[in-house]
């Protein structure tokens, strides 16, 4: 008498529920994973394409760029150039996971374990997500945003709204508070506050630009120290929302919506490796447990393992389809390796990881999942053994030389350098140019000045910088300057509208 949950590859809803129950039992009772309630939705591949092009969100405002994405995905899918993901999962409470109807029952089980228990527990417990996102209100907020933007389109025309959104999207990566925590609010609250803001904001801004300073003693004071803002501002969108002189209230609200979206996605951009690694760890562990408990067949397991190994495959850099690190591969192997270090440490591990070698693996991986982002996670937990496994090597590329140099490889002298360098690769604040607003000349020509702080001599991409500046100018509406600074001196200068006589250039 076997206890198999199913034999064969077809699925139905009852079977999904049985698998979900079995997986949930293991996840919650055996491993103590803390998750949001799950909402598992089965969708067709067309709907999956829709989901792709709205960054996975179930509702979103309308914009041509989502249409572009849809058209591209649809075209490539139709021509057979790409497959669609087996699932999409949303950081919300309840945690929504989309499953494709074409999946076999094995894939559905894998996906449920991966998304509904792996990603789900990551969303709920990782410190970045806890700090930056509010899972319970995101869907509400998306609904609010969609309606608000649709309303704006009716009141002010599709083109005007589209232009504003274009400009906001160009600055989206600079719409994030990196250090301050935003407070979560609900949709109703948001709506009420939006009305209040609309009324009061315009007033404040006019106040700021008041042309008779003698009537406003407070403003006169500000004129004396003459630097506004008093500190450089990293959140460009926030600064524009609050201080751009000529924006309409609805435009400020749109900036705010884009800013909120950027903020919401910020943790996901910082935890790709960990998030996927964690989810892979759990689909692997949970499905193996199902097999060990005699709940699934050998055939199920073979299909699962084949898919699993595809997902976590890391092609070497010489492979024609190599496109950088596979976050699934790196993340999964790191979590598995932490488990190994805890359960079966060798001398090397004891030397490198004295704190965790031999400790309770479950506690340790949970601690790792909760308290790090990609950069610090790699810095903390990438072991020499894994560096050897991946055969990592570091290339230094200095434009002053006509060669590139192999700076470190997977050997005793190289471990730390490779690890540092790989961690840096996942550090968004290094990967993205460091650009801040340093001066808004509110008493003169209202020109806005931004500063790009160069690191390691890496310049901005000229064309895109000019384009983005144009968008910035559209929102600020007065002259915008961008200085690229290295070691305290300006290396290159961009202006919008472009300066009539070219100033210094690099």
């Amino acid at each position: 008498m076997n206890r198999y949950l199913s034999e064969g590859s077809d699925w139905d809803f009852e079977l999904l529920a049985r698998y979900d129950e079995a997986i949930a039992d293991l996840a919650h009772n055996k491993y103590g994973l803390d998750t949001y309630p799950n909402q598992i939705e089965v969708i067709s591949s067309e709907q999956m394409m829709d989901a792709y092009s709205s960054v996975g969100m179930p509702v979103g405002y309308n914009h041509w760029s989502f249409g572009k994405q849809f058209v591209e995905v649809e075209g490539r899918y139709r021509r057979g150039q790409m497959g669609l993901a087996y699932e999409i999962v949303i950081n919300s409470d309840p945690c929504i996971a989309y499953l494709r109807e074409e999946n076999s029952i094995t894939m559905q089980a894998l996906v449920i374990a991966h998304a509904s228990y792996g990603h789900n527990s990551f969303f709920k417990n990782n410190y970045l997500f806890k700090t930056w996102t509010d899972a319970s209100s995101i869907i509400d907020y998306l609904v609010f945003a969609r309606h608000y933007i649709a309303e704006c389109e009716m009141r002010h025309g599709v083109t005007a709204v589209e232009e504003t959104l274009d400009s906001c999207h160009a600055l989206m990566n600079y719409g994030v508070d990196r250090y301050k925590r935003p407070s979560p609010i609900s949709a109703i609250e948001e709506k009420r506050r939006q009305r209040e803001r609309e009324a009061s904001l315009q007033k404040q801004v006019s106040e700021l630009w008041r042309t008779f300073p003698q009537m406003q003693p407070a403003i006169q004071q500000r004129q004396e120290d003459d630097t506004f803002p008093s500190e450089p501002q990293e959140n460009l969108l926030y600064f524009l929302e609050k201080n751009a002189p000529l924006l309409k209230p609805w435009q400020r609200e749109i900036i705010r919506i884009v800013r909120k979206m950027a903020q919401y996605f910020y943790p996901q951009r910082q935890t790709k490796v960990m998030n996927e690694g964690w989810a892979c760890l759990w689909h692997y562990t949970l499905l193996n447990d199902l097999y060990d408990n005699g709940l699934v067949t050998d055939g199920f397991m073979l299909e699962f393992l084949q898919n699993h190994s595809q997902v976590i495959y890391q092609p070497p850099f010489t492979a024609p389809y190599y496109s950088g690190m596979n976050p699934y591969a790196l993340g999964f192997n790191m979590f598995q390796d932490i488990r190994r270090i805890c359960e079966h440490p060798d001398d090397e591990d004891r030397e490198w990881f004295p704190d965790i070698a031999g400790s309770d693996w479950l506690k340790t991986v949970k601690f790792a999942m909760e308290s790090f982002k990609d950069e610090s996670f790699i810095q903390q937990f990438l072991s020499p053994r894994l560096i050897r496994y991946f055969k990592f090597f570091q290339i230094d590329d200095d434009e002053r030389n006509d060669y590139v140099e192999v700076a470190a490889i997977h050997n005793e002298q190289g471990y730390r350098r490779v690890r540092d360098s790989l961690a840096e690769q996942y550090n968004l604040s290094i990967q993205e140019p460091n650009i801040q607003i340093v001066r808004a000349n509110i008493h003169g020509d209202r020109a806005l000045t931004l500063r790009h702080q160069r690191s390691s001599g890496r310049p901005l991409d000229d064309d895109s910088a000019r384009e983005v500046l144009r968008h910035l100018h559209r929102l600020w509406k007065f002259d915008v300057h961008l200085e690229s600074v290295e070691n305290g001196s300006v290396v290159s200068h961009y202006s919008m509208p472009p300066a009539p006589v070219p100033t210094s250039s690099s």
């Binding site: 249409g67 572009k68 591209e72 075209g75 055969k391 590139v404 140099e405 490889i409 384009e467 983005v468």
Partner: protein, 427 residues
């Protein structure tokens, strides 16, 4: 606890609006592609979608990012041959084998074109954007001689044969509930009181109270019964309205000169023009018939195949074709039932004495019956007599008659657009 939901039946086309926004934004590119397609395609596959290519740089959504240059370190997996300190010549373009470079400098998007498909419907939409069939509205009203009876909602008055039973009964039920609500509530209360009394010990007061209750209940029950089951105010009737059915049939006369002076290229031009007109009419009418008439010195109705491909030579008498058109209209296409369009293509050669009679024929016998007559001259040389005579017609009947000259394939579509451009005075 998990909720498992089947969403497959939900709307699939969530992205439709976004897709349309995208098409709208890149209208210029798509229009160009459509324009090219018209001139490139053969007649048979005109009615298809089209692949649109847009250069990547036009589509880019710019963000701040690093350009090439400076110092950077990259970690790659899969080292086989390198040792620390190895130096490798930097490959140009970041492509080559064993370079280890390439990824970081590759942030910009490739220059290849962004390609996608628009379907047949969208293709035709772009093709005929801003175009309009002249005099379409006028004929709709004029030709409205057939009527159709349509359901026009529910009304409270009508003849017994049209009673809507379900709606009447629903109305009656609502009325009964509304009118009896208070009484029924009272009965419920009284019954509850009686139940309570019956549980008490027997006493004279109780008997008296029970007596009173019974009487009250009986009175209330009678009142309930007096509410009619169905009242005249409940009656609802189906309402029917007569709506005029616009004539949705059109016939298109393709008239072509096949005399010796028309060579294959000219015929091809004419053919493309006819085709565009046919597609365009198809979008406006449910049913289209096409009559092909070709002529040299005498006119003949022919099949499509023969019209375009058979070769004949001879002189040219244009009026023969116009007469044949008139006869066919009189015989087969009563003006009241058909929208009639005619398009004539010719190299402008005509037997000299014939041109005045052509003008007369068109003006007096054809134009009153036609929606629109368009004439294209497929000839690069100077105009001849026919053109001049036609021009006087155009001056007199600008709404129903138009003419243009086409020299080469590239001009067909622009000319077509000019002929059928939306006109304000027609609206």
């Amino acid at each position: 606890m998990s909720y498992i939901i089947d969403r497959r039946l939900n709307d699939k086309r969530k992205s439709t609006v976004n897709r349309q926004r995208f098409l709208r934004r890149y209208r210029k590119h798509i229009r160009e592609a459509v324009n090219d397609a018209v001139n490139r395609r053969s007649i048979q596959d005109m009615e298809q979608g089209e692949r649109i290519n847009i250069p990547r740089k036009d589509l880019s959504e710019p963000i701040f990012h690093h350009g090439p240059g400076g110092q950077r370190s990259i970690v790659h997996p899969g080292n086989k041959e390198f040792h620390q300190g190895d130096r490798i010549l930097r490959p140009e373009g970041g492509g080559g084998q064993g370079s280890g470079d390439g990824q970081a400098s590759n942030q910009g998007e490739g220059e290849d074109a962004f390609a996608f498909e628009i379907d047949k419907q969208e293709f035709l939409n772009f093709l005929f954007e801003d175009l309009e069939l002249p005099n379409l509205v006028k004929r709709h009203l004029e030709g409205a001689q057939t009527f159709q009876t349509k359901h026009g909602g529910i009304v409270s008055q009508g003849m017994p044969a049209k009673i809507n039973i379900v709606r009447s009964m629903r109305q009656a039920s609502m009325r009964r509930r509304a009118l009896t609500a208070a009484t029924r509530r009272r009965i419920r209360d009284l019954k509850a009181e009686r139940e309570a009394l019956l549980k008490q010990d027997q006493s004279p007061q109780r008997q008296a109270r029970l007596q009173a209750l019974e009487e009250q209940l009986a009175r209330l029950e009678r009142r309930l019964e007096r509410i009619p089951f169905l009242d005249t105010v409940d009656l609802r009737f189906n309402h029917h309205v007569k709506v005029p059915v616009p004539v949705s049939r059109a016939v298109m006369f393709c008239i072509m000169d096949v005399s010796g002076s028309m060579n294959q290229d000219m015929k091809d031009l004419a053919k493309r023009f006819f085709l565009l007109l046919y597609l365009f009419l198809q979008r406006n009418y449910e049913k289209i018939e096409v009559v092909f008439i070709r002529h040299h010195t005498s006119a003949k109705e022919v099949s499509e195949e023969e019209f375009f491909y058979s070769r004949e030579t001879g002189g040219t008498i244009v009026s023969s074709a116009l007469k044949l058109t008139r006869d066919i209209i009189n015989e087969r296409y009563p003006v009241a039932e058909w929208n009639i369009y005619a398009a004539q293509a010719s190299d402008g050669d005509n037997w000299n004495d014939d041109s005045p009679s052509c003008a007369k024929l068109i003006e007096e016998e054809l134009l009153p019956k036609l929606q629109y007559f368009s004439y294209v001259e497929v000839m690069p040389r100077a105009h001849q007599a026919l053109w001049d005579h036609y021009q006087t017609i155009m001056k007199k009947h600008p709404a129903a008659f138009s003419m243009a000259q086409i020299d080469e394939p590239g001009e067909i579509y622009p000319v077509f657009r000019r002929l059928f451009k939306k006109r304000m005075e027609d609206a």
